[in-house]
Amino acid sequence: MSTLTDLCLMESHASEAHTLDDYESERPRWCSGCGDHGVLAGLQRVLRKNNLDPENVVSVSGIGCSSRLPHYLKTYGFHGIHGRALPIATGVRLSRPELPVIVIMGDGDCFSIGGNHWLHAIRYNINAVVLVLDNEVYALTKMQVSPTTPDGWKTNTTPRGTYLKPMNPLSTVMGMTNISFVAQTATWLPAHLDETIEKAWEHHGLSFVRILQRCPVFMPKAFGEGGVHFPLVFLDHDDGIPVHPSLLARGTVQAHNHRDINEAQRAAVSVDPCPMGLVYQDPEVPSYEEIRWQRQERPDHRTFLQRLDAVMDRYAAG
């Protein structure tokens, strides 16, 4: 029986190496200064680095500014409905496990309207890179409070300040069964962002990556004005996301074993300083599609008909 790893080893039909242009579609229509541009570029770089044929990659998104990304990435893309990117991605993975899948969501998309799918997708552990572009606000609909909007901040639906503390997505996912990869990065740290996406790409299972980014229009002050005054702690491990010297000006460094779930849960709970890098990884968790495909038989047509006839026998009467 072929394993999923075999299925995922795509034969490249391209005789030569791909260039970045091969992954560029139309010109992005995001605001200037928006971090979404950087995430798109990071994804294009990782596709080029792995020399993937654009036709063998599927990007799936929900609704929101960041969910426009599949329009700008020249692969097969599915720009669906609000909060529902993960079920669609699960369907693609179950159906065609040989196709790598990228899921792009915003904070409202994933943590709020898509919350149920978010938690269950982690438990399924589908093999996909799941990027949440978190700008702490609903931007496309013009500045409403999101689950991660800081406490007391004013938005159009909380003009006198938010009522609740923001949720912590990292500690939430660290409580889910079958969590296999959690990382956090920020768009104002481009090299760290690229290396995090790459690490997520290499992981077998659901790679959950929260990407912090301010919205230059509606939330320019988020994350200490886009990292200027935002306390970070870089999680350091030989096998983690490298902490380059240039990052030291942005925060402190802490040795961290991302294979230890207790250590990862402790790190995930911290919000000040905010943990950056690879929080948790367990490459041994099987993916849902792998489990399903291993248990499934793929009979030839003759056997298929014989079996259907045998099933019909159970209902024979008269």
Partner: protein
């Protein structure tokens, strides 16, 4: 063995009822299989309490089955009031009277154990209920179900249902050896001791019946040369999904749809398929849509409340022209409504239930046999037209059993591998044929076909567009596919004479009862015919021409309409049955309806009474419908 000379009858209806969990359903299953295997035509309906363990010995606890067995092979509905009822206690019996499902002269077989029960309350209740039945003209035969079972088993609860089947075997002059086979088959997964006890009890029940009954019946059976199968509609849907070539069924549990997924789960992996139980109804359709987008044939199975949750995804399937099949096993609504009971509740929801203009194909099987074949039709349309196809089954088809010709599985088409050849230069993801709206579907993995599939309005290139022209164009192309499909359909054929005073129009599982009522009415000289509509969206061609030949058109539906005699109701505010709404809009004719929500199938006799009243009342329409309006809620 000798007994009374059997009375030959063309058909009979027998109900078997007990407290929930006492095994009447198993007894009915055994009896139905006995009838089926001996060659009787058959239709069964489950009698299901809505709770797992309702308080015992109450009318709410009654659980069991109605079995209509006939000499003719083809039985199309559950029939009229029952001729025989076998009850494990008097409250279960009473529930069937309250349900209006028993004939006045019904033959009642009842466990006599309650007559001498130590608790006076039960003795009294037993006597009162039996007196009530006697006064209505019923014949009571008390049978020692519990007492006799105790001679063979330690606990009467464990096996009195098998003694009961033995009794029915004797009452209907059936072959005990055949019953023996049936029971061994039903219990084949059980311990040998259990099987032997069941067989022994059935034989004891048979012996009891043969020696004690002063009457017995024979519904002649004609073993057929053609192989037959008997199953319920949900099982037929499951097997139909396999033979239609579906590869993924993504679902969330909901009554009364779930048993289709049970049947599929049991076998699907052996056929290269998956049943995915999603985290909710929304994810269930999302996974199906994602799987279909990537190239596999996918369906989702649900019921009314699940349909409601799936509406946004339905719109997405329509907008992206992703082939998808939804099976909606309808139940009583709105909201949680009557979860275990039949209603033709979701026709309008299926056709219109999505924001914006979202053209979909809606079809409905009318028999359990059609449940098997309809998914092949649905798949073909979904894929060729890149459309969402909704199949409306219902709780009646879902749990009823019917005998039909064994499908020839050798005709099942081979599933071709995905065509992932490079996309021809210039081919576009929505390269709509301007006449039909049809376009070629591109699949991930096809070189040179990269692009986004978006929920936004888009042009032929699949690019998001916000202008008036492309929006109008996209709408027209998606809508045109329905017209293109409609052109391929045959006009429906009228049951009965092609012209007359009254045409009854129905859809879904009411077909059998409507046609039976029409047959009886015509034999009595009434000028009535009926028309069954399988395609609800698009409607089949030729309706105007057919309607023009009748003086009056009335739909017969199991859903709600205001009654003409209700307070405040006028011809300006009256709300009609769901098919009536559609036909009125499509034909501009004053089409009325017989539309009620009794939570059980119509009996042919009820439709017949309506027909007689309408024809006598003319030119008045189907005004108050006393028999049906009384809302006798049963199964």
């Amino acid at each position: 063995m000798s007994g009374p000379r059997p009375l030959r009858l063309p058909e009979h209806i027998v109900e078997i009822v007990s407290d929930a969990g006492e095994g009447a359903q198993k007894a009915a299953l055994a009896f139905a299989q006995l009838c089926a295997k001996s060659g009787n035509g058959l239709w069964t309906v489950e009698i299901i309490p809505s709770e797992i363990r309702p308080p015992p010995h109450t009318t709410g606890s009654a659980s069991g089955n109605r079995i209509r067995l006939a000499e003719r092979a083809r039985v199309t509905n559950a029939g009229n009031r029952a001729n025989v009822v076998l009850a494990f206690n008097e409250m279960a019996l009473l529930s069937r009277l309250e349900a209006g499902s028993l004939a006045d002269d019904v033959l009642v077989l009842i466990d006599d154990h309650w007559a001498t029960h130590e608790d006076e309350k039960y003795r009294l209740s037993y006597r009162e209920v039996l007196d009530e039945f006697r006064s209505r003209g019923a014949t009571i035969v008390e049978v020692p179900l519990a007492k006799e079972t105790l001679r063979h088993a330690e606990d009467a609860q464990q096996g009195k249902n098998m003694f009961a089947v033995g009794i029915l075997c004797a009452l209907y002059s059936k072959d005990l050896d055949l019953l023996d086979d049936v029971i061994r088959d039903i219990f084949k997964a059980k311990d040998r001791r259990v099987i032997e006890l069941a067989v022994r009890l059935a034989a004891a029940g048979h012996q009891y019946g043969v020696t004690h009954f002063d009457r017995c019946f024979e519904i002649e059976a004609h073993p057929s040369d053609v192989a037959k199968v008997a199953m319920n509609g949900n099982t037929a849907l499951a097997l139909g999904a396999v033979s239609a070539g579906f590869e993924i069924c993504s679902m969330y549990p909901i009554t009364p749809a779930t048993s289709a997924s049970h049947a599929l789960s049991e076998i699907f992996e052996d056929f290269g398929g998956f049943v995915h139980q999603a985290e909710d109804e929304i994810a269930a359709i999302g996974v199906a849509l994602g799987a279909s987008y990537a190239g596999k044939t996918a369906l989702t199975i649900t019921s009314g409340p699940g349909m409601a949750l799936k509406t946004e995804f339905q719109g997405l399937a329509v907008m992206t022209e992703t082939p998808l099949v939804i099976v909606d096993v309808q139940r009583g609504g709105p909201s949680t409504g009557l979860p275990t009971k039949i209603e033709q509740s979701d026709l309008l929801h299926a056709i219109y239930g999505a924001p914006g203009d979202a053209p979909k194909v809606v079809i409905a099987p009318s028999t359990i046999e059609e449940c098997y074949y309809i998914l092949s039709i649905a798949r073909k349309i979904a894929e060729e037209f890149r459309m969402l196809v909704i199949v409306l089954s219902d709780a009646n088809l879902a749990t009823g059993q019917q005998l039909f010709n064994r499908p020839d599985v050798s005709q099942t088409p081979r599933r071709p591998p995905l065509d992932l050849s490079p996309v021809a230069p210039g081919a576009l993801p929505y390269d709509w044929d301007p006449t039909t709206g049809l376009s070629q579907r591109l699949l991930p993995g096809q070189p040179d076909g990269m692009g986004v599939t978006t929920s936004l309005n888009h042009d032929r290139n699949g690019k998001a567009r916000y202008d008036a022209e492309s929006n109008q164009r996209g709408h027209a192309m998606r809508s045109r596919k329905l017209a293109a499909l409609q052109k391929t359909l045959n006009p429906p054929s009228v049951h009965g004479a092609p012209q007359g005073d009254l045409l009854l129009v129905g859809w879904g599982s009411t077909r059998g009862a409507i046609e039976e009522a029409v047959d009886v009415a015509r034999s009595e000289g009434l000028s009535v015919s009926s028309l069954h509509i399988q395609f609800l969206s698009p409607l089949p061609p030729g309706l105007l021409e057919i309607f023009a030949r009748f003086r009056q058109i009335i739909t017969v539906e199991l859903n709600y309409s205001d009654d003409w005699n209700d307070p405040l109701i006028t011809n300006e505010n009256r709300r009609y049955g769901q098919l009536a709404w559609i036909l009125r809009a499509a034909t501009l004719q004053d089409i009325d309806c017989i539309a009620r929500v009794p939570g059980r199938p119509y009996m042919p006799v009820e439709i017949l009474e309506e027909v007689k009243r309408i024809l006598a009342d003319r030119p008045g329409v189907a005004s108050s419908a006393p028999a049906l309006a009384a809302g006798k809620g049963v199964h």
